[in-house]
Amino acid sequence: MSVVYTVYINGREYRVERSEEDTLLINGKPFDAERYVVNDGVMYRFNRKSYATYAVPTSDDEPQYHVTVNGKGMSVELEDEKTALMKSFQIGKATQLQSATVRSPMPGKITRIMVTEGELIEAGQGVIILEAMKMENEIKAPSAGIVKAIRVKEADAVEKNTVLIDIS
């Protein structure tokens, strides 16, 4: 049985298919790559060029990864056939994108909350000041929307990835 993934990177889509005989198809075309496990991840070579990669999962429940390729970092989202099928019955990707959360990028202390619940905000607008590593860091909204819930209060100590604000 062949395995098919749809891969989302930087707004582009790649269809990666692996047949039972381990032949690889990318966007429908046969693709030939060497693969080496090296001390710092997996190295692929194709078209005579080497790609040193390192992948770390970034979500507990979604197949999302942060991958570094030759020093460039990118976010990668996978969708296998099963997920794709489920999506077609349920709420799709498009809907999901309209709600967002602001998470703390690092552990620290909340020093100021700059928005209130119900407020309409712009993408990139500063919403929270987090003090960490002795610097005040302004956390910005990842997308425009309405502040649905503020989950923290000033002086709270938060862990990395704590949800701070829900935007809808």
Binding site: I9, N10, V16, V37, D40, G41, V56, G71, K160
Partner: protein, 505 residues
Amino acid sequence: MSQSIRSILVANRGEIAVRIIRACKELGIRTVAVYSEADAASPHVRYADEAWLIGPAPSNQSYLRQDVIIDTARSANCDAIHPGYGFLSENAGFARAVEKAGLIFIGPPASAIETMGDKTSARKLMIARGVPVVPGTESAVTSPEEAEKTALEVGYPILLKAAAGGGGKGMRVVERPEDLRKALESAQNEARSAFGDDRVYIEKFVVKPRHIEIQVLADAQGSIVHLGERECSIQRRHQKVVEESPSAIVDAELRARMGQAAVDAARACSYVNAGTIEFLIDENRDFYFLEMNTRLQVEHPVTELVTGIDLVKMQILVAEQKPLPFTQDDIRLQGHAIECRLCAEDVRNNFLPDTGIVMACRPAQGFGVRDDSGILEGSEISIHYDPMFAKLVVWGMDRMDAIRKMRRALDEYVIHGIETTIPFCRFVMEHPKFIDGDFQIDFVQVHFRPEDLPEPTEDEEIAAALAAIEQHERWELSAAGKSNGGLQIGRCSPWALRNRGGGSR
């Protein structure tokens, strides 16, 4: 009168502690590291001859504990304490307590720290000795109202500046009167949290200046030399990020004049040991005394690479009351050196500090590349300390050779598990204005947009897709409780593979 130092306690952590330990090892001096609970397996602890635990992770319970550090130095039979930079390095009280305990403080006399550490007295002294200074207030701000009044007198834009410490903490530029109160509050908060001292003062903000500093070395016999300049104008939030020596705009004549001013400044406060006089240079190449850093600087390696002089070894020599082994005439600058500070920060996300475990780390190597690092594979970058984990420094035959070497070294540097400022440094090395030497301290603000960072190529995205799928399938295999043979590959280091009878291919 000179006395040999046989054993040094290094009252610091990270790359600078490692740097000092290396110099000591080369001099045959025994080293004693101190460490917080968070640093038990850190490189500085492992490299030292001995390591003493001094407290929990927060600095004020460990690296800032003067009493514990001095007691440790005595218990461990040390002759001297090297404070590095940051922490207790510019604390006159500490320098005095060290001497009182019968130990040598490897740094300037407490009186010099005091004089130059207090911005007000430093300014007065410089004015008295004819060293030009930037216009501004002579004492710390006492109230928001007073600040507003003073700022109007000096004239906007103004700079708010913490009386203690440096490194951009507790600093704010204020362009309009209506922003002053908010900025003052924020600067005071930051200063209080970083230095335990919320005094902030006001000075004229010189528009579009370059920040250029002069390294000096002074011995106990009264000989003072300067080692040329460091160009430190590439800054972000008043924090230096790229430094070089020599500066693209300093010629021999200007170097001699600035050097003389720096030597005068050092002599004015009876300075002994290594120190740095920071200047602002305006568009007419007129320079103004900014402040003196009475310690080793983060960026000292660029000076070492162009002069061939080991500053830490000279600090120790001078602390032994020995005379400097050279005069001003012996000092020549050869070639060109550049330093990039590598920090755990997310460049695309407003340089937010990142934390985590360093999964893989392989610094750049080869001719003319020096990596002063404070981490190892497996080290944790935590919230407790500065996000700078290494300094990548290169030497080239000339400025362009050094720039090209830095690009190569940045490309070669492998680090996984944390976001770093490497892409930002790469951006600077490619920028036409940087290449032309045509920049001021607002370079980053004016020229850097995260969107300009290079996007991955299609082939790089395909490699990323393959890597993510591979990681995903390993993960699923593992979750399904299947043979963990698959799970291991790529997440285990080679020795695990070998033990399982296979090679790495």
